[in-house]
Symmetry: none
Subunit: 206 residues, 4 copies
DNA sequence: TATGAATGAGCCTTCATTCAT
DNA sequence: GATGAATGAAGGCTCATTCAT
């Protein structure tokens, strides 16, 4: 029940999705604070009063954008089953697949990453909390993979799966930032996909 | 020469530092956009006109806050010499020292981390660039440590030092975020200090 | 296209005209610098935010006020045809008509003159330039009358029409200032209308 | 007694004059409202607090500047004696002398004219009144010349000396404005000095 | 006497939000 | 449902003026 007065039909839902999409693009482009409701409406060629028929206010839309982004990321890794890997090689293959997919989604929809990593943090306190909560969710997913490996014995028994999961997510974040900054994202992708799995699995020592 | 018309004496410099400190606190607390110049002035019990004797405008102060934060972090790791480690154990000890120091600085001045990781990204485009540039500097430092290890043979010869350096910084970032969110930062500290060095050096595989 | 985002309809144009009228009154009353946007809005019983829907900023409105004033003055003398007079008497009659009209317009709309002669010069450099350009236009009109008389032989052949035109406009200015300052503008009007034509014509006639 | 606390000595008076001079220059240059007290002080290399030891406030200085300008103009025409001319030719010569002197003073001190005609009107209501009063004084002087001529019979008996005096001053004003706007003030001067006396005398002579 | 650091009234401008049409 | 005109809270910034040193 998004907004008391909002339309409930399928067309209305489509309109809502359009607004979320446009808002994501433009928030990612200019940042939350530099973006006006009128800017979002202008992109969609709708009156900016119309916006308020679908979302309560500016704070409301950015929440919905975050949900949208988190869902897109979730979709990306949903297919993988944390318990599917039984050996280190299968685990490595799984890592590679997830990494590929993440790179793909961030490459295809750059706004996703830019919003998530760059523009979303300045919204406000509550939003930062929500964002962190979303990150923790992904931390939980990663943790499940690790726990599976430890249980099946192909990962170190003494592994702190919580800390390790967060570390891996920090690496993903670093990779994403690297890709955003780079003029040649493809090259960045190749380097990370080549180096990261070994780094995680084997560490850096000789 | 920070502000053309600002006083240049030692007292003036102290006042400037006070303003930077207060701004850091309050930016970290409420975020850049939610903070007014009047808020900063109120904390210091000065008229808000006084602020403008020391900084050109709101954008100016946040730049100075960033510089301050980066300098604080630099101070933290300055003492270590990237080329000092000759063995894996020395390297591990070096890692531990730096990690301790970073945890200490973020624990003693929580605003530092909150500003750096949470509120600083929403300022504007140029600021994000400056922030990223600052992060890259730290990436370069980390990379120097890794290159030393590779050269001396106690780190993998096939290590991609660039990607690895960024990864490690991503882990530091994850640790910092974890600490901010936690109600028991001490516990977080203990866990990370116990787990991270092994994670980096050995990886996760059994 | 006065303001990109402003409404373009007839009602909007009326609103724009109302604002220009109110601004003229109040600029003439208090002067440009002593007038706030809020003052203009208050006169019209509109929110001061509304002002910005119709004019870009304070500088914008004063430019429009100037254009309005110049147009009003132009309207006043438009009906006369500089080439219509063929004799000195016709010329004298023409002078008298224009003088009557000018007195009428300044008497009916005192703000017009007060803005034009008293408050408009302190706006800024560019505005003064625009104002002077407007004055020069009127100088050109006056000059056309004189040139007509010289060509037809009822004005002195050796007349410097440029200087004379400016002189006459200076006299008009003096008359207007005299009228503003006087407590009895009607008396001023009578005196000037009686004395000025003779003064001019004896000076310029062949 | 300019300012209660101001110094009364000769050095103090010199300082006061310096400030008036600097203020005249900079008011003429940028206009009253665009000029800050600090700007005036900066020109003189004095602290801007010092300004307030000599003048009550910003409004005070501009009044003194006006007095200074009016005195300068008065000095220019003081030497002439309105009653000295006994014939039309002597009157013409007198006019020419005064016109020369006025052109000279405005050419030598352009700030004088620019302040008087261009920047002084936007100050505020009271100031405009004072300025008009000053103009009226000059109107009185001009009127004395005319009355002398009428009394001695070389100017028209039916001359409205009041209106005519103001007209002449209006012409002077027009000439001054012309000179300010021109890139070649010397040429302007030559044209006006050639044309104006004839224009006036033919209009006013018996 | 000179200074300039401190102050805050005041003003312009933006933009999220409302609501009559 | 859609629109966009109207609104005013909010905040950045300037600068005349004061006063302690």
């Amino acid at each position: 029940m998004p907004h008391r007065e909002a339309a409930q039909g399928a067309i209305a839902q489509r309109r809502r999705d359009e607004i979320v999409g446009a808002a994501l693009e433009i928030f990612a482009e200019r940042g939350y604070h530099a973006t006006g409701i009128a800017d979002i409406a202008a992109v969609l060629n709708i009156g900016h009063g119309t916006f308020y028929r679908y979302f309560r206010n500016k704070r409301d839309i950015v929440s919905h954008v975050l949900v949208h982004v988190l869902e897109r990321l979730n979709d990306t890794i949903r297919d993988e089953n944390a318990a599917a890997a039984d050996t280190l090689d299968e685990c490595r293959a799984q890592f590679a697949r997830v990494a590929e997919k993440l790179f793909a989604v961030f490459t295809e929809e750059p706004a996703l990453g830019r919003f998530f990593f760059a523009e979303a943090l300045g919204v406000d306190r509550d939003f930062t909390r929500a964002l962190t909560a979303g990150l923790n969710t992904f931390g939980g997913v990663t943790q499940a993979y690790l726990a599976n490996g430890v249980a099946k014995g192909f990962l170190r028994a003494d592994l702190d799966v919580g800390v390790t999961a967060r570390s891996i997510n920090g690496m993903i974040l670093a990779a994403a930032i690297d890709a955003f900054d780079s003029r040649d994202p493809e090259k960045v992708r190749t380097r990370w996909l080549a180096a990261a799995p070994d780094l995680i699995l084997r560490g850096i020592k000789a």
